[in-house]
Point group: C2
Chain length 267, copies 2
Amino acid sequence: MGTTSKALTLLDYFTRQQHEIGLSDLARLSGTNKATCFRLMTELQDHGLIEQTLAKTYRIGPAVLRLAALREATVPTRDAAMPVLQALARATGETAHMSHLVAGRLVTLAFAYAPNHAIKVMMEDADVLPFHATSSGMAVLAHLPKDQQASTLALPRIGLTPNTMLESGSIQAEMVQVKAVGWAETADTFEVDVASVAVPLFDCNAACIGAVAVAAPTTRLHGAARADIILRTIKAATEIMSLQGGAAPVTVQRLWRAILTQERAPA
Amino acid sequence: MGTTSKALTLLDYFTRQQHEIGLSDLARLSGTNKATCFRLMTELQDHGLIEQTLAKTYRIGPAVLRLAALREATVPTRDAAMPVLQALARATGETAHMSHLVAGRLVTLAFAYAPNHAIKVMMEDADVLPFHATSSGMAVLAHLPKDQQASTLALPRIGLTPNTMLESGSIQAEMVQVKAVGWAETADTFEVDVASVAVPLFDCNAACIGAVAVAAPTTRLHGAARADIILRTIKAATEIMSLQGGAAPVTVQRLWRAILTQERAPA
DNA sequence: CCCGTTGGTTTATTATATGAACCGATGGTT
DNA sequence: AACCATCGGTTCATATAATAAACCAACGGG
């Protein structure tokens, strides 16, 4: 592996749960030599990607803000999707969110809450979603190239609830199902009492790059409400893709058109 | 220079003006060998910091969005400053903005417009500001450690208007003046007819990390309005610092207190 | 048909990254 | 107070990774 990759890999250890890490800890976590880790972090620090606190711990630096602003100016992903997500949340009365595939991981980039329920599903930006336990993950996984599916399935999985799928076989069966209907659904697999519906997003090459999803308490994702949510999520996905110059593969487009025209969600 | 630094330096060539760059162009711009450039870009791409368009040009990738969200979750710089800037813009009727020092450069991180004027100063996120031609730049430069001042002054400067200061001598004289009053002011040095007032920001170590500024058409930055803007900008800066756990050096605090208590801007 | 340019690849050479051991400082524990 | 573990950071011989010139094939005018 290249030195640059090693340095950039160090950034991955900073998460919402652990956003400040000391040198020795980071060296241990990443399995790098302490001296190497120090040198790499110093280099990241010189460019503002990392900064050090008073307590000498490292954290993500301010340079990423400039890069993110530049990214949004170049490809307005988040800014373009935000109003669509807000409309989706308002219309469904539930939590809407969008995740993108970044370097093989599914990252939450934006979300919107609905005001009309006391109980709602809460989200965090920059969260990394497990493929096997979320509808977004399954929606994306099902539409990935075979090799990426295989490498993703080869990763270790953890059971977040009693309902989480763990065996490759059942996940692959679900992937077939997801691909056959054009959207994905999970209930109580990520967290108990949380269910969600997800629709994949594609770029201009018809390659799957993420998903739009609506998450709700399991008890509210039934019957007519559920059917409505499925329709609206598909519409939101197509809208976001048109804003970003993406397009679903024709096979998926056909599935969606069928669902939208019959104005009813299939089994 | 380390390999990682070389790779990260490549990111700096992506600007608001030039946000997509081809391989040969980038190799030329950065002075790196084309093969090296390719390898480094591929590595950045593997981590999502860079992505390639259909036309094979490179651009900033989606991973920076995750990092930026994580940064804001760790240190809510932008999110915390935004309401203060909006209030400042509303109260002054002009454009307010905040810039931070990132890896030796001054980067615009947030701004807010006022609704009440047809003519206003426009801003862009992620812009890099020249120290010698902006009030924010001078405010920061004046409060930097001597060695950083020297290295900044050693950089080449360009004259953006006939009024832009270019000689080190006049810039250093201005720095003394800025440090003596605790804030900075420029008129027609960045762009003709644009004037601005800036107040430095400090972190918890009392090290200067950026500035808050109000920019207005030169004709509107006079008399009572100017005095009011100076007061409000100082108040906004102290507010932002208290939100972020920073504090100005006692010398600067004294200057500000004097200005605020006499409720009048000094010459 | 040619010529210049593009993105990308190969190769021997060389410069850079690496990691064990070390340092001084800090903070509990006995 | 002596001890010990751990912290962030440094040193230096060794080994690995980065480098750059030359080379592709493909594309687009003139």
